[in-house]
């Protein structure tokens, strides 16, 4: 059976798994986004906290995903939560780093001017620092999203969700008809989601980037 034929017959299953995959990854990105920007805001002021955040995130980034999952399973079990925690930890890496880098790149003279206008620290953060750092933070969110979508494929080894299910099924049926079609559908499905999410981020970027700093 050709790939398109197979896909046509199994459309419902593929769609359902793709939605699961997207839902899982979106949740992870939203959680990591909120947490990561908050951590970045807290850490960017102090050199020590920045160094600690950088060392911490590079350790997380170095640990292979399967190993991280293996360390989480004894705590949270073979559940969706385990996968979610793993994905959030990886997504945090680019988001925290870029938030810190973005906030640090804000011109000191601009901050001085804002303070001189009588802005307090909270208003300064919300009205000046975050808007100016936003393109860099956005880039971190994009990288984090791509990372999470790819890693989501190994969720299947914890609990049977996401497009990894198709890849795993293809491998389990090694040598039988349609095993390649299944694995291909899972693999390409993730790639399609990755492109779709990236386009969505581009739209979000257009809509949310302050007019004065648009490229």
């Amino acid at each position: 059976m050709s790939f398109t034929e197979w896909l046509d017959r199994n459309r419902d299953q593929v769609r359902e798994l793709a939605i699961q995959h997207a839902d899982l990854c979106l949740t992870a990105v939203v959680v990591a986004g909120l947490l990561g920007v908050a951590l970045g805001v807290l850490a960017h002021r102090s050199r020590l906290a920045t160094a600690a955040a950088q060392a911490g995130t590079s350790v997380v980034f170095t640990v292979p995903s399967l190993a991280l999952v293996g360390l989480l399973i004894p705590v949270t079990g073979l559940t969706r939560d385990t996968v979610l925690v793993m994905l959030v930890l990886y997504a945090l890496v680019p988001i925290v780093r870029n938030t810190i880098a973005g906030l640090r790149s804000v011109d000191g003279a601009v901050l001085e001017a804002a303070r001189g206008m009588g802005m307090g620290p909270v208003r300064l953060l919300l009205r000046v620092q975050l808007p100016l750092a936003w393109p860099v933070i956005l880039a971190g969110l994009r990288v984090g999203t791509q990372l999470v979508l790819g890693l989501g494929a190994i969720a299947v080894y914890v609990t049977r969700i996401g497009l990894g299910v198709l890849i795993d099924a293809g491998l389990a049926r090694f040598g039988m008809p349609n095993s390649v079609n299944q694995a291909l559908a899972g693999t390409l499905g993730v790639a399609v989601l990755a492109v779709a999410f990236d386009l969505a981020w581009q739209v979000v970027g257009r809509l949310t980037t302050p007019r004065g700093i648009r490229a």
Binding site: A52, A55, S58, T62, Q146, G150, G170, T187, A191, V195
Partner: protein, 246 residues
């Protein structure tokens, strides 16, 4: 990856410490466990060393292959004739990066069978891009005035490449290779799914048998190997960068 000077040193010192703590903690914890016969089949020095060796071997072979492929390719892409297409090539490869490693590994296996070679090819496919990108960036950032000066001194194009462009690109290229090695160590855990061994075997055994000690041992060893490789890469970056180039 590189913060200020202090952050970099902190990172360099922190990694061996984390590895030592992880391994020490694992050893103490395992000593306190009563291992049953199934667990002992995995948690013994022979088996653990073999899996670690397989894992390291796979990662190192793939990293060397990536270096052998990416360096000439990167040099080609920065020659005047091809310089224009370089961004396009990198973008196409970047899109390829969004394809999950697990899927690529499985598809290669379904097509070519199980084993070390297929796993190595998947590793190479995954870690080629960061190295290639860094070779192109590294050579691209060399000040054109220096290349001009070299030519003016009567150096041939090849001499300019060997004596000016490549040495100046070394730090960026090494950073790329280090990233590739870490990605490789991660993808190598997936080699277990295609019968190529490695530490992923232990992790998957642990999950499938529901044996926490096996699972934790595999995961901790795997994390330690990746952290140690990353640390070795960082040290090599410092040691191998030509003097006067930071």
């Amino acid at each position: 990856m590189s913060g200020g000077g202090r952050g970099r040193w902190a990172g360099l010192a922190a990694r061996p410490l984390v590895v030592a703590l992880l391994l020490g903690g694992l050893w103490l914890w395992l000593r306190g466990q009563e291992l049953d016969s199934i667990e002992r089949r995995t948690i013994n020095a022979d088996y653990l060393l073999r899996a670690t060796r397989e894992h390291l071997w796979l990662t190192v072979v793939a990293t060397l292959a990536v270096a052998a492929l990416a360096l000439p390719l990167g040099v080609l892409l920065t020659r005047p004739a091809l310089r224009r297409v370089a961004p396009g090539v990198l973008t196409v490869l970047g899109v390829g990066q969004a394809v999950p490693a697990y899927g690529v590994m499985v598809l290669l296996t379904l097509r070519f069978g199980v084993g070390f070679r297929v796993a190595a090819v998947a590793l190479v496919a995954y870690s080629l891009l960061p190295v290639l990108r860094n070779v192109v960036t590294g050579i691209g950032q060399v000040d054109p005035a220096l290349v001009e000066a070299g030519r003016g001194m009567g150096m041939s194009r090849a001499a300019v490449l060997w004596r000016i462009e490549l040495p100046l690109a070394v730090p960026v290229v090494l950073t790329g290779l280090r990233t590739a090695m870490v990605i490789g160590a991660g993808v190598a855990t997936l080699a277990t799914f295609v019968g190529a061994g490695g530490l992923g075997d232990i992790i998957i055994n642990g999950i499938k048998l529901g044996r926490t000690p096996v699972l934790v041992t595999g995961s901790v060893l795997c994390a330690c190997v990746a952290l140690a490789l990353d640390w070795a890469g960082a040290v090599a970056e410092r040691a191998l960068s030509p003097r006067g180039v930071s």
